[in-house]
Amino acid sequence: MAELTYREALNQALTEEMERDGAVFLMGEEVAQYQGAYKVSKGLLEKFGYRRVLDTPISELGFAGLGVGAALVGLRPVIEFMTFNFAFLALDQLTNTAAKWRYMSGGQFKVPIVFRGPNGPALQVAAQHSHACETYYSHAPGLKVVAPATPADAKGLLKSAIRDEDPVIVLEGELLYNMKGEVPENGEHVVPIGKADVKREGTDLSIVTHGPALHLALQAAAELEKDGVSVEVVDLRSLRPLDAETILASVKKTNRAIYLEQGWPFGGIGAQVASIIQEEAFDWLDAPVLRVTQADVPMPYAKNLELTAKPSLERTLRACERVLYRNGRAGR
C-alpha cells in the first residue's frame, strides 16, 4: 500500500497497463508534450514516446472514431477527453460505432477501448463545462460505464477497463484528482467492473451513490451517526453493469434509501436505481426512495449560485430525515 493521489493512481494504472501490453496507447488533447491538461498522463511521453502517447487536434469526433477503428482491429486505445463536456461532439461515434459494431456483426468484433476524463461540475466553470454525463453513456447497451470515487478504485477500475474486451467509459472526478488515499501498489490490483462497494456499513438507512458524491454521502453518514442513526453507504463504482444485488441487499437490510448524485434528476442514475429498488424490494421499503441531485438547471457561474445548485450536506440530511420520517411522512 502507498498513499497516492487519485491523479497518481490513474497515472500508475496507465503506466502499468502500457508496460504490460504493447497494444495499449493513449491519445487525446494535450496528453503528451503538455503532460495532460490535468497532468494525469505526466511522464508517459518520456516513458513511451510519441508512438504510444499522442497529442491530437481539437477533433473529438474524429479521434474518438479513430480510436474505435483501431480497437476493432485489435489495438487497445485509451482515449482521453480533456473533459466529458467536449464528448457530446463524439457521442455519435461512441453510440453508433463503439456500442454497435459487435452486435451488428453478429459478434465478429471486439471493441476494447477506454474513453476517460474528468466528468461532472468542478468549481465555477459554468454551464458548458459542468456536465455530469453519466446518463448519456449508461442509457445505451453496448457501452460499460464506471465512476471511481477513490484513488484505489480509480487505479483498479481503470486497469480493469483497459483489460475489458468492451468499450468502457471511465468517468473521473476533476475535484478528486488531488485527493489522497491508500492504493495497492502491486500491478495486479484490479477492481472488478460491475461490483458495488459498501463504503460504510449501517442498519437504519442506505445512501446509494457513485462518483464524487460518495464523499458527501460519507459526511452525511458521519453527521447522522451523531444522532444515533446508522447509515450504510453503497458506492456503485460501476453504473453499467449495475450491481443491483448489492443495492437490494442493503435496502432489504435498512428498509430505507436515498440516491445521491452530482448530476441532473431527469433520467438520472438515481431514477434508474430508485425504479429498481421499488420494483424488486417493494415489500421491504418503509419509505419512498428519495433522490438528491444537482438542481435541475444549467450550472451557474456565481459561486453562491453554484453552491445552491450542487447537492449539499444540508439537502442530503434533509432527504435522509424525510425517509426516516423524522418530521412526518416522506414523499409529497
Binding site: W101, S105, G107, A244
Partner: protein
C-alpha cells in the same frame, strides 16, 4: 488498333508476349484480370437485381440501397487490393462485400435476416461484415465510417504492417465534419488509407452542387493529401489507378484521395423512385444507356476479341446460377434464435452486476 486487337486475341489464346501487347487495347491490364472484372460486375448486377426482386416480395426488409450502375467502383477498386487490406463502406455496400470475397450466399442470407448471414442476421443490408475477410462494414451514418477507417490506418502504422485501408463514401459525406477531422488526422500521421468518394451526383434527392460550395475532386488537397479523379464507369481505368495507389500507400505515401465519378441507375433506396423530383427520366435513361460499366468493358473485350457473345452468355448464365443458389440458400437458412437476442451485445460478461437493465436477463450468459 486492328493489329493490336488480333495480336491480343492470338496472345490471349496462348503463346507470345501476350500481356504487354494485349494491354494495348486494355490499358495494359492482363486479359484474365479484365475477364475477372467483367465476371465480377456481371455477378454484382445479377445479385442486386435479385435483391430488388426479393425486396419486392418481402423477403428483404428495412432499407436496401442498390449499387446498380456503380459496379465498376467496387470491382475496379477492391479488385486491386490484397486479402488482408481493410475495406469499409457505407450502407450501399452489397457489391463491395462481394468484391472483398464474401460469398453471395452469406450476403443474401444477411439481406434475408437469417442466421447464416454474414452478420448472423443482426445487421441486414446496411451492415455487412466479415472480420476474417477484412470487410469491416456496412456503416449507415453518413460519413461515420471515415474516422473508423482512419483508425484502421492508425493500427496498421502502429504495428508497422504492410496493409492498407480503403474507405468508401458517397459524395454527400464530404459535408460531414467527421470527414474533415479524419482527413486531417490521417495527413498528420501519414496513415495508409485511401479515401474513395463515389460521386454518383446525388445524395438521396439532392444534387451535390445544390448544397455544397466546393468541387469534389480536390476536396482533400487542403490537407496536403494527393487527389485523383477517375471515371468510375470505366473499370479498367479505375483498376489501373487503384493498383498504383494501393502500391504507393503500401509503400508509405500516406493517405490518398480519389473522386470516382459514377452514376446511380436505381432509386436511392427501394422506397425512392428511380426518377422524379430531383432528376428526369430522360437523364436516367440517357446515362444508363451511355454509361453502363458492364456494357463498356464488354465492348472492349469484344473489340479485343477476348470475349464473344457465346462466352458472354455463358458468363451471364453462371452469374444467374450463383444468385439463384444464393437466394435458395438464404431462403433455407434458419431465422436467428430469439433466445440469442442478448448474445454479442458485449464480448465480456463481468462477474458482477447487470449488463441488461430490462429485468429480463439478470444473469446474462457469456455472449457468442
Amino acid at each position: 488498333m486492328a493489329e493490336t486487337r488480333s495480336d491480343t486475341k492470338g496472345g490471349w489464346r496462348g503463346g507470345g508476349a501476350r500481356e504487354e501487347r494485349g494491354g494495348d487495347s486494355l490499358d495494359g491490364v492482363a486479359p484474365e484480370v479484365v475477364l475477372k472484372l467483367m465476371r465480377d460486375m456481371l455477378l454484382f448486377r445479377r445479385f442486386e437485381e435479385r435483391a430488388e426482386e426479393a425486396y419486392a416480395i418481402g423477403k428483404i426488409g428495412g432499407f436496401c440501397h442498390l449499387h446498380i450502375g456503380q459496379e465498376a467502383t467496387a470491382a475496379g477498386t477492391i479488385g486491386a487490393l490484397r486479402k488482408d487490406d481493410y475495406v469499409i463502406g457505407s450502407y450501399r455496400e452489397h457489391t463491395q462485400a462481394l468484391a472483398k470475397g464474401l460469398s453471395p450466399n452469406a450476403v443474401m442470407a444477411e439481406l434475408y435476416g437469417r442466421e447464416d448471414g454474414c452478420s448472423r442476421g443482426r445487421g441486414g443490408s446496411m451492415h455487412l461484415f466479415d472480420a476474417e475477410k477484412c470487410f469491416m462494414g456496412g456503416a449507415a451514418i453518413v460519413g461515420a465510417q471515415v474516422p473508423t477507417a482512419t483508425g484502421f490506418g492508425f493500427a496498421i502504422r502502429y504495428r508497422g504492417e504492410k496493409r492498407i485501408a480503403l474507405c468508401f463514401m458517397g459524395e454527400a459525406a464530404l459535408n460531414q465534419g467527421a470527414f474533415h477531422e479524419s482527413l486531417n488526422l490521417a495527413a498528420v500521421w501519414k496513415l495508409p488509407v485511401i479515401y474513395a468518394v463515389e460521386n454518383n451526383v446525388y445524395g438521396m434527392g439532392t444534387a451535390f452542387y445544390r448544397v455544397s460550395k466546393t468541387d469534389v475532386d480536390h476536396r482533400a488537397a487542403v490537407y496536403g493529401i494527393p487527389c485523383h479523379v477517375v471515371n468510375g464507369q470505366d473499370v479498367l481505368a479505375t483498376y489501373t489507378l487503384f493498383m498504383r495507389l494501393a502500391d504507393e500507400v503500401r509503400n508509405g505515401s500516406g493517405p490518398q484521395y480519389v473522386e470516382i465519378r459514377t452514376y446511380r441507375f436505381k432509386g436511392h433506396s427501394m422506397s425512392d423512385p428511380v426518377s422524379g423530383t430531383y432528376r428526369s427520366k430522360e437523364e436516367v435513361e440517357r446515362r444508363t444507356e451511355e454509361e453502363d460499366p458492364i456494357r463498356i468493358v464488354k465492348e472492349r473485350l469484344f473489340a479485343a476479341e477476348l470475349l464473344d457473345q457465346a462466352e458472354l452468355e455463358e458468363m451471364d448464365a453462371e452469374a444467374r446460377r450463383i444468385v439463384d443458389e444464393a437466394a435458395k440458400f438464404a431462403d433455407a437458412s434458419p431465422l436467428p434464435d430469439p433466445a440469442d437476442l442478448y448474445d454479442s451485445v458485449y464480448a465480456q460478461t463481468n462477474e458482477d452486476g447487470r449488463l441488461f437493465l430490462d429485468g429480463r436477463d439478470e444473469t446474462p450468459r457469456a455472449s457468442g
